[in-house]
């Protein structure tokens, strides 16, 4: 399908990582058709100066490619009428660049709440901020429906987001999210930064995925500059990524159970998560491993003592984690809450290219480590964790499986770590703009990164797409028909990032 679409165009030579094909409006619409037919997955869509770009993945051939469309006129045909998942991405691009997507059914601003000092902050000429009309939530009609507004300030200490429930008694008829409260302007901050400064910013897009973000940024920069980090660095990066995954999945499994008021699981998982973070601290010098993955390699080598700390951790997890899995399985009152709650249908998961755990719990066999393999996973593949039920229980089980797979993978990887340097200073100095793109599997799902470097190796444009962009809309679908009181449970089983989404 990708081949046929791009038969008449040739890829741009400046773009590395995977091909980027400049297309015209007709091909852009043809892409929309292919998305509608489900032959392609939309992995991301973002604006640029005078252009829009989207990343497409073809599940049948496991090929990935970008398409870019000239938008110097300020108008581009919208993909949203063909493919609903494009809607929020286009609304965000419209907010940031002032692009007009013709045919976009939903024209409400998304990230811009009318509180920014400027409008269209990433456009060539931004306008002073304007007060926007009040946000109109979508209507639901019927007898005795009532609305429940929740957030953006919540009773607990969590990130801000507004949820507008329309309920019939306790049953949710419609949920609409309003996000963008933690917009920090990271993409604008990235513009003009040096690679090192940008790497630090990229690591802070979403703190719990700092390894994934550092990795995707580093890989995109390396692709753009044609640099190859030493083999040992590649393995150490993956070790960090798997440790991050284990720590976060442990936290999630506990937190999901805690939202069903089963706090014993939360306490026990919390202990294991803490052990993982401490092992990370003693192995790499930072509990979350922030700023350790840098373009060119890694900033800290793993000493034998660090290897021992991680192996002690995996051994401990092997002993204790199965007991918790058994506890989860044998607690009927907990199963009663998770089984059959918040179902995401396989069709919807496929349409939205549901990243990570949510996709794999609904039968979407996609894991960036396997589907778009990168070193070292191409040489040491992992097993795909998969379920098809699509409920909260399935998402818990995918996490449990992934923890187990990652433990096994870590042990194998540490036994065969290659020797050698861990960092190669990237010396290439481009004479014109170069671009790179990468896809990395974080604990939430695939994180997409795109970098364009200009002369002097300054960032011209960097876009980091959090998996939450594609997960948040699915949460709206998952809760439909469930009861209001089950929303926290569904929400926690998705565990979408606000920070990564609002950027």
């Amino acid at each position: 399908m990708l081949k046929a679409l791009f038969a008449d165009s040739s890829p741009d030579g400046a773009h590395q990582g995977w091909p980027r094909v400049p297309v015209d409006a007709d091909v852009w619409r043809a892409i929309g058709e292919a998305l509608r037919e489900g032959k392609l997955d939309l992995l991301g869509l973002w604006g640029d100066l005078g252009a829009v770009q989207c990343v497409l993945y073809e599940p049948a051939t496991r090929q990935i490619a970008s398409a870019s469309l000239d938008a110097r006129s300020g108008k581009v045909p919208s993909l949203a009428p063909f493919h609903a998942p494009a809607s929020r991405l286009e609304r965000a691009a419209s907010d940031l660049f002032g692009l007009e997507f013709t045919g976009l059914p939903d024209r409400r601003p998304w990230l811009d709440h009318g509180r920014w000092p400027v409008q269209h902050p990433l456009a060539e000429s931004s306008r002073p901020g304007a007060i926007l009309p009040p946000y109109q939530f979508l209507q639901a009609e019927g007898p005795s429906l009532h609305q429940i507004p929740v957030g953006p300030v919540h009773a607990g200490i969590i990130e801000p987001g507004h949820f507008r429930f329309t309920a019939s008694g306790e049953t949710v008829v419609r949920l609409e999210e309003r996000l963008g409260y933690t917009h920090k302007g990271i993409e604008r901050l990235l513009c003009g930064k040096s690679i090192d400064a940008a790497a630090r910013l990229a690591a802070r897009v979403s703190g719990d995925s700092t390894v994934a973000y550092s990795l995707v940024f580093a890989r995109a920069v390396e692709a753009a500059l044609g640099s190859r980090p030493p083999p040992r660095a590649l393995w150490l990066r993956a070790v960090m990524a798997e440790l991050e995954r284990i720590a976060n999945h442990l936290g999630d499994v506990g937190a999901i159970c805690n939202d069903a008021a089963f706090s014993m699981m939360h306490a026990e998982c919390g202990i294991l998560r803490e052990q993982t973070l401490r092992a990370c601290a003693s192995a790499f010098g930072h509990r979350l491993m922030m700023d350790l993955i840098v373009p060119g390699g890694v900033a800290a080598d793993l000493e034998p003592a660090g290897v021992a700390a991680i192996l002690a951790l995996t051994e401990g997890l092997r002993g204790q984690f199965p007991e918790l899995v058994e506890l989860y399985e044998n607690t009927a009152s907990l199963q009663d809450r998770t089984v059959g709650t918040g179902i995401v249908s396989g069709a919807l998961a496929a349409q939205f290219a549901a990243p990570g755990v949510v996709g794999r719990a609904s039968g979407r066999a996609f894991d960036a480590r396997l589907s778009v393999p990168y070193a070292p996973y191409d040489a040491a593949p992992l097993q795909l964790a998969a379920r098809s039920e699509g409920d909260v229980d399935a998402r818990v089980w995918v996490r449990i499986q992934e923890i187990q797979h990652s433990i096994g993978w870590l042990e194998r990887a540490l036994a065969s770590l290659p020797d050698g340097p861990v960092r190669e200073i990237v010396r290439a100095v481009p004479t014109s703009s170069v671009e790179g793109a990468a896809l990395v599997e974080g604990f939430r799902g695939d994180v997409l990164g795109y970098v364009r470097l200009g002369v002097g190796r300054r960032i011209e444009r960097c876009h980091l797409r959090d998996p939450s962009w594609l997960l948040w809309p699915l949460l709206e679908a998952a809760i439909e028909g469930n009861i209001v009181a089950d929303f926290p449970l569904c929400n926690k089983s998705f565990n979408c990032s606000y920070s990564g989404h609002d950027l």
Partner: protein
């Protein structure tokens, strides 16, 4: 009735209020230890109350007089109800003028006021909490009454002191109706005190709240009074179960200082034990889906009913 009886009654009334936060603190401490946490001091609820009383009470602009008055009324009714339950001594003056049905009625009044207060400000969470509370109350209250009827049929009286005395006497033994009433009473206690699996007193998730949702708009002294009322209510239910089903050691009015001291000790031990069992149960179970709670409370109602019917049948056939 002598003056000393009234003194003891007064002491007991003060005691339930004075020790209720301690009971909350103890349950939280036990829970923390079961979850492998250190936990806050058992005195923490007192500090929390003190902190809340000192804080400014923020009241919504559209709150009516009801919103301000409700906390005190709820507190007063709950406290009076708690004072009617024999703790360390039975046969006290107040118990003679008000029976267990009055206790149920007082608690019902408190609940009604709380639900009204939840609705008063017009926030969605208050309404959500009130509607859930009323849904559960429509089953919990009759269940409580059925259990009470079983007990009073047994003892031939609705006075708690008489029931307690009957239980100590030779007439009572292991009886199926009694067991059914006990289970019904335990289920009602769990539901009424917003414990897991019905409600989670420690949750921060607005959408799952029941009791907490109704008091979400309260702050400062209003919240302090409501928190104190909730603590007193837990003490009331545990004391009630202890008084009826484990009446041993309770002093009888006018028995003398030594008997009172022994009664006090017995009461403390019983309460600690019940609190431990409650927390143990809570730790081992997840919260129910909201729509399953009526089934759970329905069980209590059915058990209470069954207890009463069985009692009738056995009396008739005897």
């Amino acid at each position: 009735m002598s003056y000393s009886d009234w003194l003891i009654q007064l002491a007991q009334t003060a005691l339930v209020l004075g020790t209720a936060p301690l009971l909350s603190g103890v349950t939280r401490k036990i829970r923390a230890r079961l979850l492998r946490r250190q936990g806050a001091s058992v005195l923490q609820p007192y500090r929390d109350l003190l902190k809340l009383i000192r804080k400014e009470a923020v009241v919504a602009g559209n709150a009516s007089w009801l919103f301000r008055a409700a906390p005190y009324l709820i507190f007063a009714t709950t406290w009076v109800a708690a004072a009617l339950v024999p703790t360390f001594a039975s046969g006290l003056p107040l118990g003679a003028v008000a029976d267990i049905i009055v206790i149920v009625a007082l608690l019902g009044t408190a609940r009604f006021l709380l639900a009204l207060a939840g609705l008063d400000v017009g926030t969605s969470f208050g309404g959500l909490g009130s509607s859930r509370e009323m849904l559960f109350a429509s089953l919990a209250e009759p269940a409580m009454l059925m259990a009470v009827f079983t007990l009073s049929l047994f003892a031939g009286s609705t006075q708690l002191s008489s029931i307690s005395a009957y239980m100590l006497g030779p007439g009572a033994g292991v009886n199926i109706s009694l067991a059914l009433a006990l289970v019904a009473l335990i289920i009602v206690s769990i539901g009424e005190n917003a414990r897991i699996p019905v409600d989670n007193p420690a949750t921060h998730l607005e959408l799952t709240m029941i009791h907490e949702a109704m008091i979400l708009e309260y702050s400062g002294r209003h919240l302090a009074v409501l928190e104190a009322a909730a603590a007193v209510k837990l003490l009331l239910y545990l004391s009630l179960i202890a008084c009826v089903f484990t009446p041993w050691g309770t002093a009888v009015a006018g028995a003398g200082a030594l008997a009172y001291a022994a009664g006090l000790l017995a009461w403390a031990v019983k309460l600690a034990l019940l609190a431990f069992l409650l927390v143990l149960f809570e730790t081992a179970i997840a919260k129910m889906r909201v729509f399953r709670v009526p089934e759970f409370l329905g069980i209590a109602l059915m058990l209470g009913l069954l207890g009463t019917i069985l009692l009738f049948v056995s009396k008739v056939s005897r």
